[in-house]
Symmetry: C2
Subunit: 623 residues, 2 copies
């Protein structure tokens, strides 16, 4: 991309205001406007500007400075703001289709302003609305205009009090009654109450409810989703048989009304079943296009991938905001100095740089990865009716990437925000400086749409499965997006020795990239060996997998994702299209992220070397 | 200590209520009552019980469940509760003197209930009150009964908007005017406003204010403290010339009114100077018992050590609460299982145990250390008029230990609470389950009474200073509490090789203890070499110290404290007085904490071994 013309830059990227940061900014080795244009592209910058301007110009979005917002008031405001955002049509459907990144941009811009608003909007339009569009059929299309106009307001109800991670074990039931052509929705006890459901607490009129589908005769066909009216849209009073309410204050995101619901033999029409993965005939016969129940279950929860990919982007925004606050503070805050008279900005201290700059690099690397992942997922979802092997393989690869990158991004952000909070000292503890909100509102990214530690098992399971296929004499080890292709050279990589002659020669991301390939191969081998050893000692598959997580499968999944992020960013900053004045800066960011990230695994790298030296030796602690 | 008699146990430690935890509790290999009695002692258990009973029986301390407390209401309630606690005289002065641990017990019991209350009480009585008692003289004794009756309410004002860590650079001035025998207290600009001062926002009538003392002729004698009335105790209106107010919402501790204050040429009597470290005669001559200004400055900030030691204990309580919540949840929460029908408690999963159990061990090790430190500090402070060399050495040792253990304890708690929050999944994100409050209210422990990273420099500075003295041919390397005595064998320790023949043989805290001694010696050598190398390349002392923090001095300080905590707990659990039925459990906790803690340094242990193998070789990355 060419450098911006003067007109573009002036309108899209006005000069920053003067002030205490000017001294540092004047020392920059590159033009920040050129960097912004290269990373975001003119279209996205324009979209961001239009969204932020819309919020800035509307008094409904004014911050309530100086007085505390009660929980109720915050929830009410968030609902009104959500309605306003939908009404303003900040993004046209054709723009979304043309460039799926625009959806991500809208969500993250709203989140930059307030995550409660972004999530309320996301839950209604993209989770609830998209579920009806994707899991329903023509008979449900009538709801879409009502969703867009907020004539009905929605939520997505999977989790129950006692089942979150293990969604398959959800206990709400939907028994089909052919006499009236209705399903009877029922919560057997309080532990089966829907719980945590965003928008359900006070505002949703409709819910997509996951329940175990039973046909006459008592046969269970597993989890299906139903479109259920839970409140009167005019009065917001609960529908008969529905007990629904707010679950109370959370650590953050209190503008969202998270709710619970219990269904007492609630009758809903047969056509309320979102029947894309399975349907019931008026007479009560279950029909499904899927032969395999497991495959059907996977398809019915497919939407979760999109949620997870968005969480990756949300985490990146949180880290971006925190790092910006902390670095700007560090550049202006002076404390101590070589003499009693002269104090230096705390950013000049080695410790402060060491704490903050790697997170700055992480923002760039993860931001790039997040967009790449989202675009691939969007493309995959557009081909959802494609039943080819490649499409299935792509689905598995994306599922593994999404399942591993949500943990990586949300944890990196969580740690980074904490570091930023501390790096700003007392001022970082003042609510107005926002680091607390960022920490509290990033925190659930580690939990919802799949607990991080549980999700990582999906990623390691994918890698172990691929290797097993390969060892059974299967096809080449490769994947549609190429993230696992290096594993084809698995034995050779494990034989490689690190050979960088100097420290200076390591300050380039290709060096940690190669080390990461080796590390992933090593952890893959360790994981396979551990699982096999567990099985040989009589463990069931379930036990063998559980007992191989710590130091093996869990580390494998994280290292694989780190490698993928490092590789994507390395390739991105080394492509010929990078404007020459930006190359050095971007390549340093790439090297910093990769080396810092790899640094977590140093003990393993040394240990492996030690084992190689004494191949027969026991693996004993050493110093 | 003997096992409790039946009567004792029944009254002090009633049986736990039945419920879903019973199955796990029934499997315990030891008697929890015996453990509690051994760890706490009967006196402390009795005191705890009396404090908690007093709170439970008084409606003023009832939790406001179900509705949100506004910031103002929380602040008001906290003030009233503080007054009630003082009025109830939960602890007699003679008990405090007889057993200083009782003070810690009172603070931590109040904090277990609500940290805002504990801190309000602590700031008024022990920080403000103690400062007057310790830094003032007979002329200030009249204030003490008023403090105890809360006729006046106090705060302790050091920090300013732009100076926290660098307290020496505080800019509030106090010019002495012999004409009226008054000091003129003045804040030159907003950046010199007192800021963050707990209790100052709305409730304090008096403040101990730190300011630069000037005598006629314009000579500055450095920082001194003054007792200043800031509000009318009847109306709470500010005194003339004092601009005072609340700094607004914080990430937590919102029951405390943190405030700011600016003084506009406020005249205060000469006798308001807390004159223990220096005084001004009516004519305006400065007199001090200290010859050395640095020594005087140290003495004037001496109180901070007590604050820091209490923070160590506060952090331990936070971790204790979080770990209890998370472990109990994990023992009852079931998710997934070997079959679709049978789900297992999440505590049975390897990952969950790996995440939580080390923090359980950390609670025990740090709790023991915290009490030991507090007792030593109390003893040291009782001998504050002792001018012996041993007392001075003890002061330096305790300062180094306090400065390093506040970071270690507050960070361990902060990370542990986050892990507990995540380990409880969605339910951990619900405010009522308290993990959010614990995280938010532990967080400032990393910052106040000295930023953790800054404080660590005090600890490394102490060690480097001792070694320098030793190398200059000084006396033996030893200290009154013996925490550094092992360094006398510094070269021998560095020559030692790790030689534990089996993994099983390492599951004992003496093994990591020995490794820690080696590690501290290694890091000490690395730190000295780095500082010297910096100086040889032309760095000033200031630069050399700053540029040697990361990977060297900072790691050294942390490792030294970890070693000290490990050593204290190792010795404690191996003493003959441990009841035989508790030995195995306590020794396993000791081993777990020590090994887990040492595990952070594995890369360094490998690296050092590699260097030894190739002594001439460059220190290059390796795998």
């Amino acid at each position: 991309m060419a450098a911006p013309s003067e007109g573009d830059a002036a309108s899209l990227l006005p000069d920053l205001p003067g002030g205490p940061l000017q001294a540092y900014r004047a020392r920059a080795s590159f033009c920040w406007k050129e960097l912004a244009l290269f990373l975001e592209g003119e279209d996205m910058l324009r979209l961001k500007k239009s969204i932020f301007s819309a919020l800035e110009d509307d008094p409904l979005f004014a911050r309530s400075r100086g007085h505390e917002l009660s929980l109720e008031k915050h929830q009410e405001l968030t609902f009104l703001r959500c309605k306003r955002v939908l009404g303003r049509a900040l993004l046209r459907v054709e723009d979304m289709v043309r460039n799926p990144l625009s959806v991500l941009t809208l969500i993250t811009c709203l989140g930059t302003y307030d995550w409660s608003l972004a999530q309320k909007f996301l839950l209604h339009l993209l989770v609830f609305g998209f579920a009806i569009y994707k899991s329903g059929s023509e008979r449900h299309l009538e709801y879409l205009p009502k969703i867009l106009s907020m004539e009905i307001f929605g939520c997505f109800a999977v989790t129950e009090v006692s089942h979150g991670s293990n969604a398959k074990a959800i206990r709400t039931t939907a028994h089909y009654d052919p006499a009236t052509e209705e399903f009877i929705l029922h919560s057997p006890d309080f532990e089966a109450a829907k719980f945590w459901v965003g928008n359900m607490g006070k505002t949703a009129t409709h819910a997509v409810v996951f329940a175990q589908l039973y046909t006459p005769g008592g046969r269970c066909h597993g989890l299906h989703s139903f479109l259920v009216q839970i409140r009167n849209p005019k009065t917001l009073l609960p529908m008969p048989g529905v007990m629904v309410g707010d679950i109370g204050k959370k650590l953050g995101l209190n503008g969202i009304d998270n709710g619970f619901a219990m269904f007492h033999k609630v009758r809903i029409p047969r056509r309320a079943l979102l029947n894309q993965t399975g349907d019931v005939t008026p007479e009560g016969t279950y029909v499904t296009p899927f032969k395999d129940a497991k495959q059907r279950f996977g398809a019915s929860l497919n939407n979760l991938s999109m949620g997870r990919a968005i969480i990756v982007a949300m985490s990146v925004v949180n880290l971006k905001l925190a790092v910006s606050i902390a670095l700007r503070f560090s550049a202006t805050r002076r404390q101590f100095g070589p003499t009693d008279e002269e104090e230096v900005p705390v950013l000049e201290y080695q410790t402060q740089r060491w704490r903050l700059l790697p997170y700055l690099a992480a923002v760039y690397a993860l931001d790039h990865f997040s967009k790449w992942l989202f675009l691939n997922l969007a493309e995959f979802q557009q081909g959802w009716e494609d039943r080819s092997t490649r499409q299935a393989e792509l689905g598995r690869e994306i599922h593994a990437l999404v399942s591993g990158s949500k943990p990586l991004a949300s944890w990196t952000a969580q740690r980074g925000i904490q570091e930023c909070r501390e790096a700003c000292g007392g001022h970082g503890y003042l609510a107005v400086n926002r680091l607390g909100d960022l920490r509290n509102e990033n925190d659930p990214n580690c939990t919802y749409e799949g607990d991080n530690n549980v999700l990582l098992q999906q990623t390691s399971g994918y890698l172990l499965g691929l290797l097993e296929l390969r060892l059974q004499g299967g096809a080449r080890l490769e994947s549609p997006l190429g993230t696992v292709d290096f594993l084809e050279a698995y034995p050779d990589i494990l034989d490689q020795r690190f050979s960088c002659p100097s420290v200076a020669g390591c300050l380039e991301s290709s060096v940690p990239l190669a080390a990461y390939e080796w590390l992933v191969c090593y952890l893959l081998r360790e994981s396979v060996q551990k699982v096999n050893q567990e099985k040989r000692s009589g463990s069931s598959d379930f036990e063998a997998r559980n007992n191989s997580q710590v130091y093996r499968c869990r580390s494998l999944a994280l290292a694989f994702l780190e490698l993928t992020v490092v590789r994507r960013f390395h390739e991105y900053v080394h492509q010929p299209g990078v404007p020459p004045p930006l190359r050095a800066t971007l390549q340093r960011l790439s090297a910093l992220y990769a080396l810092w990230s790899l640094n977590q695994h140093t003990a393993l790298l040394y240990r492996a070397e030690r084992r190689r030296r004494c191949p027969g030796g026991r693996d004993r602690p050493s110093r």
